[in-house]
């Protein structure tokens, strides 16, 4: 199973690629604390949809795991897992197959 650092790196890379596609200057050099989908975050809903799909694809390609990040748990969570790179990393780790 991949460790936190490698998952975080994968998410950061996905955010960077998305930033280039969507020309989001605020996300071109993301860190673990970078805000994504929250008040003051740089993503709108369509960019978030793309980011989630990109991360799911990258996880499948790099680690051969099939994870749905947009599941009911994520939708109903009090604190959205999409708010930052760090919270997205937590969400991926939670959903990793045992």
């Amino acid at each position: 199973m991949p460790n936190r650092t490698s998952i975080e790196a994968l998410i950061l890379e996905s955010v960077q690629m998305l930033a280039e596609d969507f020309e989001l200057d605020a996300l071109k050099n993301p860190s673990t604390d970078t805000s994504l989908y929250c008040e003051g975050g740089a993503l709108d809903s369509m960019a978030l949809v793309n980011l989630i799909a990109d991360i799911e694809e990258a996880l499948a390609k790099k680690f051969d795991v099939s994870i749905a990040l947009a599941d009911e748990k994520a939708m109903s969570a009090r604190n959205s897992p999409y708010r930052s790179v760090s919270s997205l990393t937590d969400a991926v780790i939670e959903r990793m197959p045992a």
């Binding site: 369509m46 793309n50 799909a53 799911e56 694809e57 499948a60 390609k61 099939s66």
Partner: protein, 231 residues
């Protein structure tokens, strides 16, 4: 070479569509619950139930690996059951909704992800004239296709930003397994309600699909096109 995904390719309209687009120079990825009935160097087949989420996600992953992206999706797979509502078991209701609604949704969702980068994706769903004609004996089938039409219109809005168009075609009865067993008198009465009173053909369907697939059709989305002059 463009890639088109077609569901329900083992027989009927789906098989004819697959053979047509293979002949036209597309790479075709098909699926059905049974083994492939098409042998072609540019045809890839998956055996699955279109309403099985894990199987559809796995298929999308394999397409991503082998083709990179998808240009078009024809959500052709569908089942029907003609019966009076009072005699329709709930198992039949669930089966029809699973294949026609859940299956269509899953393929739209997974293939749209693979169309994101092409910036010119095409999704074509299949509905039926049984919905606008409110045909007796087809309550659940028509209701499932009404859901497909609604899905088509809303996805057209949701996917427009990704440059993916989402439209639907509503064929009239065509000689396929789907209508085998429908009494002739019923068929004649149905044809009488069309402006053009003849059975449809696969060519009629291909003509409408071609129209939606054209590059110039990027301004056409969220539309339902019924054949035979049904409205």
């Amino acid at each position: 070479m463009k890639t088109i995904v077609i569901t329900g390719t083992r027989k009927g309209i789906g098989k004819a569509l697959a053979e047509n687009y293979l002949a036209a120079g597309w790479k075709v990825v098909g699926c059905s619950r049974g083994e492939s009935s098409i042998a072609h160097e540019h045809y890839q087949h998956f055996v699955l139930d279109v309403s099985d989420e894990d199987a559809v996600v796995a298929m999308a992953r394999q397409i991503k690996a082998s083709h990179g992206s998808v240009d078009a999706l024809l959500n052709n797979a569908g089942i029907a059951s003609m019966n009076h509502a009072l005699l329709t078991p709930v198992s039949t209701v669930n089966r029809i909704l699973q294949t026609n609604v859940v299956g269509t949704f899953l393929f739209c969702r997974e293939m749209a992800k693979l169309m994101r980068r092409t910036k010119n994706g095409r999704i074509i769903n299949f509905t039926t004239v049984a919905h606008p004609l409110n045909l007796e004996g087809e309550a659940i089938y028509a209701a499932s296709k009404a859901a497909v039409e609604s899905l088509t219109r809303i996805l057209a809005r949701e996917l427009a930003e990704l440059k993916i168009t989402v439209n639907a075609i509503g064929p009239t009865p065509i000689e396929t397994d789907l209508i085998r067993g429908v009494p002739q008198a019923k068929m004649d009465a149905l044809l009488a309600r069309q402006a053009v009173r003849r059975m449809g053909t696969v060519k009629d369907v291909i003509n409408a699909v071609d129209f939606y697939l054209r590059e110039e059709s990027d301004f056409i989305t969220g539309q339902v096109l019924y054949l035979g002059g049904v409205c």
